[in-house]
């Protein structure tokens, strides 16, 4: 089972290390992780996706909570969450007509297009993982020479309740 965790941490050196080291030492798995400072510069927010059964995910959350530098750990309900990943793909075209084909596909998936050349193109897709998978599947017939993914980042829908 897939889980998206939103982890609010102290924004100071070494915290990312502690989180990843915790996953390593407890034999948990990180599927993706993205980190950035929040509106309050004292905190960073990490969005971690992980895979495991219910018991394991519950244990991961407890262990994360136990870390002194984590301020809040939330498991995001997929349905109640806006979550996205950004992917950059460099695709090679063997003839110029392929560039047009790729651009058409990219448009159909609401991608952004960068750096169009005679024989290559960079496509940016920001979407949910399943949509990204679908797009990757479509361009499989061309040669993807480079790929960079940010990992999932997410926010719960609706108004924040002050705690």
């Amino acid at each position: 089972m897939w889980a998206i965790l939103s982890v609010l941490v102290e924004n100071k050196p070494g915290v990312l290390f502690k989180i990843t080291n915790l996953f390593r030492s407890k034999n948990f798995n990180i599927d993706s992780i993205s980190v950035g400072v929040t509106e309050n510069p004292e905190f960073s927010k990490m969005t971690i996706t992980t895979i495991g059964d219910e018991k394991r995910v519950a244990q991961i959350i407890k262990q994360l909570n136990k870390l002194i530098d984590t301020v809040e750990v939330k498991r995001l309900d997929e349905k109640m969450t806006v979550y996205r990943e950004l992917v950059l793909m460099k695709i090679k075209a063997s003839k110029p007509s392929e560039i047009t084909e790729i651009m058409n596909l990219a448009n159909a998936f609401e991608c952004k297009i960068h750096d169009v050349r005679q024989s290559s193109i960079i496509v940016e897709i920001t979407a949910t993982p399943d949509k990204i998978d679908a797009f990757t599947d479509m361009v499989k017939n061309y040669k993807i020479t480079d790929i960079a993914r940010t990992g999932i980042t997410a926010l719960a829908r609706g108004v924040n309740h002050e705690s």
Binding site: Q59, K62, N65, K66, D69, V71
Partner: protein
């Protein structure tokens, strides 16, 4: 004020009276301030022992013990001791020197990334970057180390931070956003726990180390007596309940008491207090929880559901939880006076195994030796152990009668822990006799602490059950490897009586039960450390035995 002076002042404000350590280049500024302070420094001969002494001190006094080491090898030498304290939730403050901030990352002489190295085995680690951070760091370190589930906290102080001067402010309280050690126990859960216990046909209490850490001895005993149900313990929880009490069955687990393992298997409901259900205690996880309803009380929420699934969970300091439970039971006038069928079965089983468990018949069989020790030691005496067969024999044959007087490296199983820990314990309680029940292999690992014991006037007793081998390993080779014995023979080297004498301590060889009794009596009166060397049979096995990966019901009994 300099960072070093601030460090000493802050330590004194936290009540520090003693530190165990070794100086070196990177912590000399601290030592210079230590020289001027009122804190006693105990010079050790290896940093690992400094950490074990601080650990022993911490477990006995239930306040963090403090150890000092220099950067690089000094700091890395502490690691085994820190990891041992972490595994057993023992409060400790380890203060290391570090190369100056400008040199960090330059592979400087005696630089080691102790923050990174220690990460998995500390509760938290600090590295103040300016002198003025030091007072707050020390305050936070004590707060984190001693509250909630206790544990070791490291403070790594770069040399320039020790030396430089800044305006200091010593806070009275600290707040840490991500740390909430106090959870109020959920009363409705406690109520449910009582209902389940009352309904159960075959209830049992499993007391873990958490009972000792929180000092909940009286509460535990009251609950057991009001409900009239048997008490087993984990090995770490040994002595959380008087082992001569009629309701006591002793420790369960790999080398648990036969009656304890048997009754644990038969129980239908367990009140598990302050335990993490370690594999050594419960055997195969899936088998343990089968047909058992588990009420789990622990201060650490992450322990709930980690190894065993609880039907009722009470998170909070176990003493606080048990107090509420006692109050509720008294309000409801719960007091069992009539022996249930289950209780009769428990008593019969206990009586049977106390009479019929086969023990080694030699004059110096482990059971006889340890029962002799119990006979001559006062109840208030503190015992520690090393790691190996002698430790498990202690679990089986040495009854802890006064709660909270027994300590062992149960989580990490660190050979060499018992002797320095005994020294730390004696510093915490100088008026109480302290005995390290040792195997010679383990004692050999930290025996140089005899110098500390002698020179610092901290007389403890080392009770060496000498089988001239790494006995526990030998037992596994006999049992699981068809007697292919390798790497276990210590060949009687060195002579521990002479070792003791070389350090200016007292060495006595005791070759009969009578001599053991006499030797212990001499040792109890002695002003210096005493090593009692007892030759035992190298072939004796520890039994009963629950082999790793098997269930408690698969316990192998002596034949």
């Amino acid at each position: 004020m300099s960072g070093s002076k601030a460090l000493m002042d802050a330590l004194e404000l936290e009540g520090a009276k003693t530190v165990f350590g070794i100086p070196g280049g990177a912590n000399l500024p601290m030592y210079d301030e230590l020289f001027k302070s009122n804190i006693r420094h105990i010079l050790v001969r290896h940093e690992q022992s400094a950490a074990h002494m601080a650990d022993g001190f911490g477990r006995v006094s239930r306040k963090p013990g403090i150890c000092f080491a220099t950067s690089g090898p000094g700091a890395t030498n502490l690691i085994t001791g820190i990891a041992t304290a972490h595994a057993d939730s023992s409060p400790m403050i380890a203060v290391t020197g570090q190369v100056p901030i400008s040199m960090i990352g330059k592979d400087a002489f005696q630089e080691s990334d102790i923050i990174g190295i220690s990460n998995p085995v500390v509760k938290y680690a600090f590295q103040p970057k300016t002198p003025s951070e030091v007072p707050e760091v020390v305050k936070k370190a004590f707060y984190i180390s001693s509250t909630g589930r206790p544990g070791p906290v490291l403070i790594d102080v770069p040399k320039d931070v020790q030396q430089n001067e800044e305006e200091m402010n010593f806070p009275d309280v600290v707040k840490i956003r991500g740390y909430h050690p106090w959870t109020d126990p959920d009363i409705t859960q406690i109520q449910r726990a009582i209902e389940i216990l009352l309904k159960a046909e075959r209830p049992i209490i499993l007391a873990g180390g958490g009972v000792i850490i929180s000092g909940a001895f009286a509460e535990l005993q009251t609950i057991a007596e009001l409900l009239m149900i048997p008490v087993v313990t984990t090995f770490k929880g040994k002595g959380s309940f008087p082992e001569n009490h009629i309701l006591s069955l002793g420790p369960i687990g790999m080398h648990g008491h036969a009656e304890a393992n048997k009754m644990m298997v038969e129980a239908d409901c367990v009140l598990a207090i302050g335990t993490r259900f370690s594999d050594r205690s419960v055997g195969k996880f899936e088998d343990f929880e089968k047909n058992l309803s588990i009420i789990h009380m622990d201060v650490d929420p992450a322990e709930i559901g980690k190894n065993q699934t609880a039907s009722v969970a009470v998170v909070g300091d176990v003493q606080a939880s048990l107090r509420i439970m006692v109050k509720m039971m008294i309000q409801k006038a719960i007091k069992k006076t009539e022996k249930t069928k289950w209780m009769k079965r428990v008593e019969e089983t206990k009586e049977y195994w106390q009479k019929n468990l086969k023990i080694h018949q030699g004059d110096l069989g482990a059971a006889k030796v340890l029962r002799k020790l119990r006979e001559v030691l006062p109840h208030k005496a503190i015992t520690t152990t090393e790691v190996g067969q002698h430790q498990m024999w202690t679990s089986l044959f040495y009854n802890v009668i006064q709660p909270g007087t027994f300590f062992s490296s149960t989580g990490l199983g660190t050979m060499g822990w018992g002797f320095p820990a005994a020294i730390g314990a004696k510093v915490a309680k100088p008026d109480v006799p302290v005995v390290d029940i040792a195997g010679e292999g383990s004692f050999n690992m930290t025996e140089n602490s005899l110098a500390v014991s002698v020179l610092e006037n901290i007389p403890v007793i080392v009770f060496v059950m000498n089988n001239q081998s790494l006995g526990m390993v030998a037992q596994w080779q006999r049992t699981f490897y068809d007697r292919r014995m390798i790497g276990i023979d210590l060949k009687g080297c060195p002579d521990y009586v002479k070792i003791a004498e070389a350090y200016g301590a007292q060495g006595i060889r005791a070759e009969s039960l009578d001599e053991i009794g006499k030797a212990v009596k001499i040792a109890l009166k002695s002003d210096v450390a005493t090593v009692i060397d007892i030759p035992i049979d190298p072939e004796e096995d520890v039994l009963p035995f629950v082999a790793p990966g098997t269930a408690l019901k698969d316990m192998v009994l002596p034949s």
